[in-house]
């Protein structure tokens, strides 16, 4: 980093690559730059730039879209005058009612719970650091973001919507609900928010604070 955050330990600039264990120094990064391992090219650190305000704004908008996406109908199917409306939650409910509780949990986790938790945890940590308020469990919230990241599958869900659309289009007429637009917006904004957000830099900022 160009200017090292106050309170960050000196060693924070030295790192061991997670993928090949090579000990190396992370060079100073300009905004938008990323450091890669000199042996195996693994990503070591990104400097997204834009401070705390940009991820804060993006995560806040993502939260609003997440709520909208889950309130309104997602898709409506019409077969000879009969209407069937579904929501995002409805896709895990139908699995639960079909006796596949485990599968319902997986779909609920990947399409609603993990994105909701990541967005909330990110907002919580960013607000605590940005306004320097001593909130409980900030460290826990920040580590949850890394643990939950592999379980967010909004983009895969969207591909599923596309395939289901093509398959059902032959047998009935489908209408797009308001939620689908919110959902597309959510995918774009949450991707942008995660790109503007480097947990490692937040860990460094937390180092000197008395947060739990």
């Amino acid at each position: 980093m160009k200017q090292r955050e106050r309170g960050a330990p000196f060693r924070a600039e030295l790192t061991a690559c997670h993928e090949c264990d090579e000990l190396q120094r992370i060079p100073a990064l300009e905004a938008g730059q990323a450091a890669r391992c000199r042996i195996c090219q693994a990503l070591l650190l990104r400097n997204p730039g834009g401070g705390l305000d940009r991820p804060l704004a993006l995560f806040l908008s993502a939260l609003i879209l997440l709520l909208l996406a889950n309130i309104f109908p997602f898709m409506t199917l019409e077969i000879q005058g009969q209407q069937e409306i579904t929501t995002i939650l409805g896709t895990s409910q139908v699995l639960y009612h079909a006796g596949m509780g485990a599968l319902a949990v997986v779909v609920f986790l990947t399409s609603i719970l993990a994105p909701a938790l990541i967005i909330s945890c990110a907002l919580y940590v960013l607000l605590a650091i940005r306004f320097n308020v001593s909130l409980p469990a900030v460290r826990m919230a920040l580590s949850w973001i890394s643990h939950l990241k592999p379980w967010v599958m909004l983009d895969v869900y969207m591909l599923g919507v596309l395939v289901a659309f093509v398959k059902l289009d032959k047998m009935a007429s489908l209408h797009i609900g308001l939620s689908l637009f919110a959902f597309i917006g959510l995918i774009i904004l949450s991707t942008a928010a995660m790109a503007a957000f480097e947990p490692q830099l937040l860990w460094r900022r937390l180092a000197g604070k008395r947060f739990t």
């Binding site: 060693r11 924070a12 790192t15 061991a16 690559c17 997670h18 993928e19 090949c20 264990d21 090579e22 000990l23 042996i39 195996c40 090219q41 693994a42 650190l45 898709m75 199917l77 077969i79 000879q80 009969q82 069937e84 579904t86 409805g90 896709t91 895990s92 139908v94 699995l95 079909a98 596949m100 485990a102 599968l103 997986v106 779909v107 990947t110 399409s111 460290r139 920040l142 580590s143 890394s146 643990h147 592999p150 599958m153 895969v156 869900y157 591909l159 599923g160 919507v161 395939v163 289901a164 093509v166 398959k167 059902l168 047998m171 009935a172 489908l174 947990p199 490692q200 860990w203 937390l206």
Partner: protein, 209 residues
């Protein structure tokens, strides 16, 4: 210089470089996560997840992922027949995407994990950078296989309990989701740093409890 030789490791959660006690594991002073020189029993745990995934792959492809009941007619779809359906309806770009995501990716991912495990167990000195890149790729693309599960859930949610048609998710969907989840766990439990170990100190830590 490898961090292991100095008894150092970066925390997997917050990336803080730290000196570990002789036992090879400790707790990160910054984020309180567990830090290890190498993941415990990485090779055997990864094998366990991988073998379970391979076993679950059979019912995942043999059992129907969904059944369409329409006007007394019953038609069951497996993972493969779903791809064939898209192909027959002239939607070949989408058929190709679904074929790659739900047929190629799981098979290649399982094969790649087996290759990585065997090469580490044989302490192969070859193509370390390429093997690390292979690991990075399979860790990234595995999630796309979940697409079929979402398709089944969406279709079943839209076409339920109508008098004209009903779509019921089948046992194949459960088995297929298990394959995807198990291979994700397998990739998570594999420690890519083992590819680079020469098999002295680190190997003992990685394979003994």
């Amino acid at each position: 210089m490898r961090a292991r030789h100095l008894g150092l490791a970066s925390c997997h959660t917050c990336n803080l470089l730290q000196r570990l006690p002789a036992s090879g594991h400790g707790h990160c002073p910054r984020c309180h996560s567990r830090v290890r020189l190498r993941m415990a029993n990485s090779i055997s745990i990864t094998w366990a997840f991988l073998i379970t995934a391979v076993i679950a792959y059979l019912p995942a492809n043999l059992y129907p992922v969904m059944t369409v009941v329409s006007l007394g007619n019953t038609q069951s779809d497996t993972i493969l027949s779903g791809v064939v359906f898209l192909l027959l309806h002239g939607d070949w770009p989408l058929a190709l995407i679904v074929f790659v995501a739900s047929v190629m990716v799981p098979l290649l991912k399982m094969a790649a994990l087996a290759y990585l495990l065997l090469s580490v167990q044989r302490r192969s000195p070859l193509r370390k950078a390429q093997r690390t890149r292979l690991y990075r790729i399979i860790e990234m693309v595995g999630r796309w296989s979940m697409v079929d599960i979402f398709v089944v859930a969406l279709m079943a949610a839209l076409v339920q309990a109508g008098n004209l048609a009903t779509i019921i998710p089948g046992p194949g969907a459960l088995a297929f989701a298990s394959v995807v989840i198990l291979t994700i766990f397998a990739a998570m439990s594999f420690d890519p740093r083992l590819i680079w170990d020469k098999g002295e100190v680190g190997h003992d830590i990685a394979t003994s409890p």
